[in-house]
Symmetry: C2
Subunit: 336 residues, 2 copies
DNA sequence: TTTCAAGATGTTATCGATAACGGTTCGTAA
DNA sequence: TTACGAACCGTTATCGATAACATCTTGAAA
C-alpha cells in the first residue's frame, strides 16, 4: 500500500519511507503493472485499430494519425491487419474485445462486416468506422466523400474532352468506397448528357494485378475508351503498367485518373491526376471521436464526418483538342 | 469455476450444465478477459513494436511482416511511432514494459537508444533490434548489410564511368545504417583508386527536405559531381526535386542511386537505381526471433541476421560513354 | 500523566480468471 | 443396507494494484 502511494505520488508517506521505497524501486528496476491496475479501474489505456492493409500508404498514414492522437491522450494502439478478410476481421474484433481495448477503430473489409459490428453496438462497445461506411449501421464514421470526389474526377475528364471513359471498380460491390465512386462517375456522365454503358465498368480486385487485368480488357474493347478512371492508386498503377506494355502513352493515347495520391510519385514524375484524401486526418479525427466516446464526452447520437478530397491535376490526362498541356510541375509544390 | 471449465473446453461438466452455461454466454454476450487470465499465467499475448515512422513504406512493410508472424503465433502487436525522438522512444519502452508486453521489436532512433536497452538486457526482457544495430549492444538483431549494399551501389556508379560521386548521408552519425552506407561508399572508392574527399559528403536530415537542401549544396559546388548516392529513398526523392528545379535531367546530367525502393514507382517510371531491402522479411524474421526468445526456445547467445539487398538497375544513371542505355522496363517485372 | 489528533503505515477486500482442493450426488458392488 | 468411487459442482486462494478501513506512532495540549 505504501509502495502504491509512493508510485502515485500521493501524500501520507514519510520522507524516510518514501526515500527507501524509491531506492528499492531503482534497485529492483520495478515497473508497476498497468494490467493489474486496469483490473480495478477497468481501464487498459488501449484502443484497437483494424485495417485491411497497413502497408497501403493510405492506411499507413491513417495509422500514424491515429497513433499520434491516441498517444497524446495516454492511449496505445493495438494494430491488426485484416487482409480484407471477413473471417480474420471478426476474429480480430473478438480478440480485441477480449484484450479489453477500450474502443475500436475499424476500416471494415466490406458491408458484410456488419454482423460483427451490430454486436458491438448491442453491447455499447465504443467504435468508429474509418474510410468506409456500412449502410444501415448507425455509428460514428469518418470517411471521404467519394461520390463528390469521383464526380469531380470524371467531370475533369469530361471537361477536357473525354466522352468515352472506362471505370475500374471494386469487384466486391459491398465496399462503400467503390460503390460511391461508381455512383459519382455515373452522376457526372448523366450531368454531361453522356449515356451510361455498363460495358465500360470493369470489376477487379483492388490491387495492382486487378488494375492490370482490367486494363487489358479495356484495351481489347472494339471501341477503345479515351480515358480510364481507376478506383484507387494501386489499381491505377496496375493500369499504367498494362498501358505501357501495350505501347499506350499516357496522356497522349489514354487519360488516367484515380483516387488517393501515390506518395513521392508526384515529385519524381508529376503525372497522375488524382483525388488526394487527407489520410492522416482520417486517423487523427477518428481517434478523437473514439476517445470522446470512451470518456463519455460524446452524446447519444452518432457523428458522421465526411472529408473532401483535393483534386490534383497533373499531366495524366491531356486536353482533347490536340493542344499539348504545359507542364504542371508547380502544382506539386515545394517539399513539405 | 464451472464457467471457466466450459470456456476452456475441459471435462468434468455435465451435459445439461454445459448447455446452460453456453446459453448464458450467448445471452450475455460474455467474452472472457485475457487481462485477468494474464494476471495468473503471466502472459499477455502481446508484443510491442517501436519504429521511427510507420508511414515510411519501409517500416509499414516491416510492420505488416511482424504483425502476420505474430498473429500466427497468437500474439497481438502494440505499435508505437517514436518519430525518431529519443525521449519519446524511452517513454514508449517504459510504457510497453508497464503494459506487460512479452517482448519488444525496436528500430532504435540512434545509438543513443542504448541506455534504455541495456536496462532491458539487465532485466532479461526479450527484445530484438530491427534495421539498425547499436555498437557494443549484444542482442538479437535483424538488419540489412548496408556496407556491402552501399559498396555495390557505388561500384555500379563507378563501373559506368562516374568518378566524382557525392553522398548524402544522415546528419545524425549515430545511426548504424547511415554510418555503414558511408563506409561502403568509401570502400568502393578506395577499391577503385578514387581519392576520398570529405567535401563530397553532405549531412542532412533523412527526409525529403533534407535531400532537397543537400542537393542544392551539391549543385552549388565549383566542380559539380556527376552522380549522387542518397542514403535512402525519401532522401533521393528530395534530391530529385532539387535536380528538376535546377533543370538537371537524370540521368543525362546527373546519376542518382539510393537505398530502399519506392513502391509502385518502378512501374510508373522505371527510373531510380536502388538497393531494394526485403522490408517485410525484416519484420517477420525479427518477430520470429522474438517469439523464440519469449518461449525460451532461443539459446543464451544472441543471434545476428544480416539480409542482403537487391541491386535494381534502372535508368537513373547512364553509362558515361555517351551511349544511351536501352530502356530497362523488363527489370521491373510482371505485377506480383 | 492522560488524551487526542494528525500523520504514517498496515490489513482486508476487490477486480476476473483459474489452480488446487473440498463437498455432493448417484450408481454399483460388497 | 452399507461402502466406495466416479462424475459433477463449488469454495478458497492467487496473480498485482488499490480503495476502504484499521492500527500505530508521535508530539502537544489538557
Amino acid at each position: 500500500m505504501t509502495v502504491s502511494r509512493v508510485i502515485n505520488g500521493r501524500d501520507g508517506v514519510g520522507q524516510k519511507t518514501r526515500r527507501k521505497v524509491e531506492q528499492a524501486i531503482l534497485e529492483l528496476n520495478y515497473v508497476p503493472s498497468r494490467i493489474a491496475r486496469g483490473l480495478i479501474s477497468n481501464k487498459t489505456d488501449t484502443i484497437g485499430l483494424i485495417v485491411p492493409d497497413v502497408a497501403n500508404p493510405f492506411f499507413a498514414l491513417l495509422l500514424r494519425g491515429a497513433e499520434m492522437t491516441a498517444r497524446k491522450a495516454g492511449y496505445r494502439l493495438l494494430v491488426c491487419n485484416s487482409e480484407g478478410d471477413l473471417r480474420l476481421e471478426r476474429e480480430y474484433v473478438n480478440d480485441l474485445v477480449s484484450h479489453r481495448v477500450e474502443g475500436l477503430l475499424i476500416a471494415p473489409a466490406s458491408d458484410r462486416s456488419k454482423a460483427s459490428l451490430v454486436q458491438l453496438i448491442r453491447d455499447g462497445f465504443p467504435f468508429v468506422l474509418v474510410d468506409r461506411a456500412i449502410p444501415g449501421l448507425d455509428c460514428d464514421t469518418v470517411k471521404g466523400d467519394s461520390v463528390v470526389g469521383a464526380r469531380r474526377l470524371t467531370e475533369h475528364l469530361i471537361s477536357i474532352g473525354h466522352r468515352r471513359i472506362a471505370h475500374i471498380t471494386d469487384s466486391d460491390d459491398n465496399v462503400s468506397t467503390g460503390r460511391e465512386r461508381l455512383h459519382g462517375y455515373m452522376e457526372a456522365l448523366q450531368a454531361a448528357g453522356i449515356p451510361y454503358s455498363a460495358d465500360l465498368i470493369f470489376h477487379a480486385t483492388v490491387d495492382r494485378i486487378g488494375g492490370y487485368r482490367a486494363t487489358q480488357q479495356i484495351l481489347a474493347l472494339p471501341d477503345v475508351p479515351t480515358a480510364i478512371f481507376a478506383v484507387n492508386n494501386v489499381s491505377a498503377v496496375g493500369a499504367m503498367q498494362a498501358l505501357r506494355e501495350r505501347g499506350f502513352s499516357v496522356p497522349r493515347d489514354m487519360g488516367l485518373v484515380c483516387f488517393d495520391d501515390v506518395e513521392h510519385l508526384a515529385v519524381l514524375s508529376p503525372f497522375l491526376t488524382v483525388m488526394d484524401q487527407p489520410a492522416q486526418t482520417f486517423g487523427s479525427l477518428s481517434a478523437q471521436l473514439l476517445l470522446e466516446r470512451i470518456s463519455g464526452r460524446a452524446g447519444e447520437r452518432s457523428r458522421h464526418i465526411e472529408l473532401q478530397a483535393d483534386l490534383i491535376v497533373r499531366e495524366s490526362c491531356c486536353v482533347r483538342t490536340g493542344v499539348p498541356k504545359r507542364p504542371t510541375d508547380r502544382l506539386v509544390g515545394v517539399p513539405r
